[in-house]
Symmetry: C2
Subunit: 452 residues, 2 copies
């Protein structure tokens, strides 16, 4: 019997799944059809800010595989095709061919929902004015790059999350005056503890980027096009505004169709990426996953998670058996030379999850202190009082600082204590760390705090 797999969404999760399924099942046993409403599939959205900055050219370097390459591999990809409805009883989807204008209904035996996330658009007046941009798709990146290249003026970034910071770097290196406005009281408010966010803000200000927190945007002003951003307490002239206000899972198809959502508002799945509906799978930004430290469902919008859960879905829906172990929310970004990374729980997350948490923050250098390129690094480690179990970490520092977060991720994965980590045999040479790595020092302080 030849089965038919329909994939809704042709980005990381969807195409990872399709590729895994194709590798495991030949075309005569499994037909694979993917529908993607944009013009692109399988592209590296995380690279887009760096195209805007001018680091990566041309833009299509961000496209990992074209529809033609998928076709040659036996995966039918239809771009500019939007699935507009799912009928679980009939096992069909309704598809609009956006360029051709026709709508058709097509059947599936298995369905993968990989619809991703959509930008949050709060009820702020003026969001639709010309000159107001987002950075989600490759087309967005193309437009923003043209804007950045054209004239140098004032760029106002609304939202101080990962995308906001990356766009701030892009416009900064392109010679613009940049302001980042974050409504919360610190930068990166959804992922970093406030004092770490403050350290990022301070470093950005030293780069000449204006950072304002705790003053929500109320209105974008302009008639022909945006000319200013008004906050509760201030007003910023703007030649361009970029919104980075976060994302939420795109479940506008799944929810009405009757695919159950979980407590996070994303599609509920088990560790095989199965939804509660037989033969229906979900992966990527639109699906929940499990947090390894708390054991609770979370919904993260990260390329790593999309690729992994897509892979898991693809293996399982083609007859394999692999369980996704979950996530830690490990993430890294940079603003020019400043590296910013996190994993696991913040102190506040840990309290919310019912842990009696303590934290320790230490500063040191990325290399031996006498190395000419030594730069400052700050590490915050969160641990459970009493047991000393590590719960999370955050790092801010110069080159070489950020990827150290992976050691904390490995430690969290194995439920190491801070004391364990403080003795771990990490690599040392003067160009790379002190003889006691800043990780050791942070872990030791966290262990002390957990005992105290």
């Amino acid at each position: 019997m030849r089965e038919r797999l329909v994939v809704i969404g042709g980005d990381a999760a969807g195409m990872s799944a399709a590729s895994q399924a194709r590798r495991r099942r030949p075309p005569e046993r499994l037909e694979i059809v993917a529908y993607e409403r944009s013009r692109y599939v399988s592209y590296a959205a995380c690279g887009e800010p760096y195209h805007v900055a001018g680091y990566i050219d041309p833009l299509d370097r961000l496209v990992a595989r074209t529809p033609e390459e998928f076709a040659a591999a036996g995966i039918q990809v239809h771009t500019r095709h939007e699935v507009v409805a799912i009928d679980l009883a009939a096992r069909t989807v309704d598809v609009v061919d956006l360029d051709g204008g026709r709508t058709f209904t097509t059947g599936f035996d298995q369905l993968l929902v990989a619809t991703g996330a959509k930008a949050i658009r709060p009820p702020i007046e003026g969001l639709d004015l010309p000159g107001v941009h987002e950075l989600r798709t490759l087309d967005d990146a193309r437009v923003l790059r043209a804007v950045a290249d054209r004239g140098k003026g004032s760029a106002v970034i609304v939202g101080g999350g990962y995308i906001g910071l990356e766009v701030a770097e892009a416009f900064c290196v392109q010679g613009w005056d940049v302001s980042v406005l974050e409504a919360a009281n610190s930068l990166l408010p959804r992922t970093f503890d406030p004092d770490v966010g403050d350290e990022v803000a301070k470093a950005m200000e030293n780069m000449g980027i204006r950072v304002e927190t705790g003053d929500p945007v109320v209105r974008l002003v302009g008639s022909e096009r945006v000319v200013a951003v008004e906050t509760e307490h201030d007003k910023y002239e703007a030649d361009v505004v970029v919104l980075g206000l976060g994302t939420r899972p795109e479940v506008a198809l799944a929810a009405p169709a009757g695919i159950p959502l979980g407590e996070t508002g994303a599609i509920a799945v088990d560790d095989h990426q199965r939804t509660e509906i037989d033969g229906v799978w979900a992966a990527g930004d639109c699906a929940e996953t499990r947090h390894v430290v708390t054991g609770r469902p979370v919904n993260l919008h990260l390329g790593t998670v999309a690729n992994k859960t897509g892979r898991v879905a693809g293996i399982n829906l083609s007859g394999g058996d692999v369980a996704f172990p979950g996530v830690l929310g490990t993430a890294i970004t940079k603003v020019c030379d400043l590296e910013i990374a996190r994993t696991g729980l913040r102190e506040s997350d840990a309290h919310d999850a019912g842990f009696d948490a303590v934290s320790a923050t230490v500063s040191g250098t990325t290399t031996a202190h006498y190395w000419p390129e030594a730069s400052k690094v700050t590490v915050r480690a969160v641990a459970e009082r009493g047991t000393g179990r590590l719960l999370g970490a955050q790092i801010v520092g110069g080159p070489g600082a950020g990827k150290r977060i992976d050691v904390f991720a490995a430690a969290l994965w194995s439920q190491m204590t801070a004391d364990d980590l403080s003795w771990l045999d990490l690599a040392y040479a003067p160009p790379f760390s002190g003889v006691w790595d800043i990780i050791h020092i942070a872990a030791r302080k966290a262990a002390q705090a957990a005992r105290g």
Copy 2:
């Protein structure tokens, strides 16, 4: 009662121990006296090649603390004082004041042996010729820097281990013609699998450094001073020769005194750094430690291990109770932009230790492949057949490659399987890795190999 602690050897292990003991016990309860035969204590030997290279100036930036600073902290340090005998029955040591010329005997209640390691000097003719150098002490570094600065000519490095490679970089950046001669069939023969050593050799040759392996040096030639190095099959003109032939534990004091050695030839200690003699401790290069993967005694000469075991000894001999969990042999070095790192067991070590080991070698990029500074990285992961347990890893690559070894170290510490590691939530952004880090890819291949 006031006890007296005598520390033999004033480098990393000895002074770490002294500092910990001082912090825990006041001078009125514990007198601390350290004897060091050189002119320096507490210096960063690992930084010496970078002084020779001209990266770090002046040399005394490598001195962490001076004898005067120790004295102010209540630790008596006597440099140019060599302990020449230990009498365990009398609880005394004989000390020669190298500058004053007198010899005296002094008592101890507790003794820490931290005599370090000494260079291996094989029976090669001509090793004592002028123009033949080692790089162990700060004085060696001062002399080699003067040599490197003076005239540019041919430098021949005998020995392709860590020090040999670091000195090769130093003379290379100082404008010398550099040859590295390694008697074994590949570079880094004691710490890396041969194919990884070969990759390092290839990269060094691309930097203009000549590398010859498998052709042992038989003779250094010269009358006034060295002019050439003869191997079994070749002859190399040399204006300067630097020996990096490895080290062995310095037990010339301990062994005759009756402090038991272990199977490695270093001083046997338990996980508290206790020798078999009551009140006598050992730490650093002269002492054994336990390998976390094999459980067996090993003797490693690494600054990290010296600092850690010194700290453990200092805590325990002053009434604390901390167990040293052991080592993985994690190490990192670089040759110009090439980073080289390892942890755990090589494939050959694993076989020697009784594991049925497999390995997987993968190549990729340090960053997203489209990032402008993407550079090549090769990772070799070793795992146990059947269980898939990770046993070791080696990494060679461009900037950002080397410290990834710490993730493998954390994985080994927790007995992770290669499969566990292949799903680990590592940090991703295009400037830092591919969406699947090279670690994931290596772990996945190792897991496959372990199953196969």
